[in-house]
């Protein structure tokens, strides 16, 4: 799981062009959006596309569960670990 957590952090950094941010800078349990890492709604869409390409996941932009999966890197890793198909 730790490897997957770092993999997802790397995916976030590369996908969202987070300059000067390293894997170590991202708190696994901190919110990804708004007050945490400071990502916005466009980043959420971008991450959705990246998660589809990398892990074959399809997240609905409307669903309440999606909001929970995106709450933190740990939540995202838990979801990816169970539902990935590539």
């Amino acid at each position: 799981m730790l490897a997957l957590i770092d993999e997802i952090k790397t995916l976030i950094i590369e996908t969202l062009n987070l300059e000067d941010v390293t894997v170590a800078d991202i708190d696994t349990d901190a919110p990804l959006f708004a007050e945490g890492l400071g990502l916005d709604s466009i980043d959420a869409l971008e991450l959705g596309v990246a998660l589809h390409k990398r892990y074959g996941l399809t997240l609905s932009a409307e669903a309440e569960e999606t909001r929970q999966h995106f709450a933190s890197v740990r939540h995202l890793a838990d979801y990816v670990a169970v539902h990935r198909n590539r």
Binding site: L18, L39, I42, E46, H52
Partner: protein, 251 residues
């Protein structure tokens, strides 16, 4: 009442690779040096990284000009002018659409002509008006007329931004190309340094001026190098920018 066609430029800023101070731009304006053919992307250190990451090289050039301390941006309207905008971004989106069927949301969100000044105003938490213009041969004229209209509408000053960059290779067969990525900004105010005129007698007069002023750089050169008295703004007609002598007042 002030003439609707007279104005001044109070402040300016410019960015191009390796052109990192005003003296270099003055030397370029005098024709002593060309803009260096050099790959460099503007650092835009004054912009928060979370916003800066969205800008591509052309946008970064424009942002660097907007952030320049010499411009001292303080909330006036922005008239953003670029012939082609970020064509490399648009092309990449079209490639992605053709090859993968999906486009990047963040690239798509920035693929509008007003995205770069919008990013700047988000960073500045400003609600200043923006207009973004694209034009092949009348960009300078269009930008100046728009800025004059905003002055006439009551704005104390208007920031005119001009920027362009080399086009992706795919397009270079079809159109002349800017050799380097550049951006400059001019703060227009009411004043009596320049006058926009329409003089169609110029149509029949052969001048030394280039007839296709498609690049916007001649405006910056005209402002910085005071040896020219008139700048043609429209190769096909008679729009010109005149430099007014300090003592001339109203003609």
């Amino acid at each position: 009442m002030a003439s609707l066609s007279e104005f001044s430029f109070r402040r300016w800023s410019a960015w191009a690779p390796a052109m990192d101070d005003a003296d270099k731009w003055q030397a370029w304006a005098r024709g002593e040096v060309s803009l260096p053919d050099h790959e460099e992307t503007a650092a835009v250190r004054m912009m928060p990284p979370l916003l800066r990451r969205r800008a591509h090289p052309l946008g970064r050039a424009a942002l660097e000009a907007l952030y320049a301390p010499t411009l001292g941006y303080a909330d006036p309207p922005i008239v953003f002018c670029s012939r082609h905008g970020e064509m490399s971004r648009s092309l990449a989106i079209q490639h992605a659409l053709a090859e993968e069927g999906k486009v990047s949301p963040q690239e798509f969100s920035m693929a509008v002509h007003n995205a770069v000044p919008g990013l700047f105003l988000i960073a500045k938490q400003s609600r200043a008006p923006i207009i973004a213009l694209a034009s092949e041969n009348r960009l300078l004229l269009s930008g100046i007329i728009e800025a004059l209209a905003q002055l006439a509408d009551g704005a104390p000053s208007v920031i005119l931004v001009f920027c362009d960059a080399p086009l992706p290779m795919l397009f270079r067969h079809f159109i002349d190309n800017e050799p380097v990525c550049f951006a400059f900004a001019l703060e227009m105010t009411a004043g009596k340094d320049y006058r926009l005129i329409y003089d169609d007698t110029a149509l029949s007069t052969e001048t030394a001026y280039p007839l296709e002023p498609a690049s916007s750089l001649p405006l910056l050169r005209f402002v910085l190098d005071e040896t020219q008295n008139a700048l043609p703004l429209d190769g096909a007609a008679g729009w010109q920018l005149l430099r007014l002598a300090p003592e001339s007042g109203h003609a």
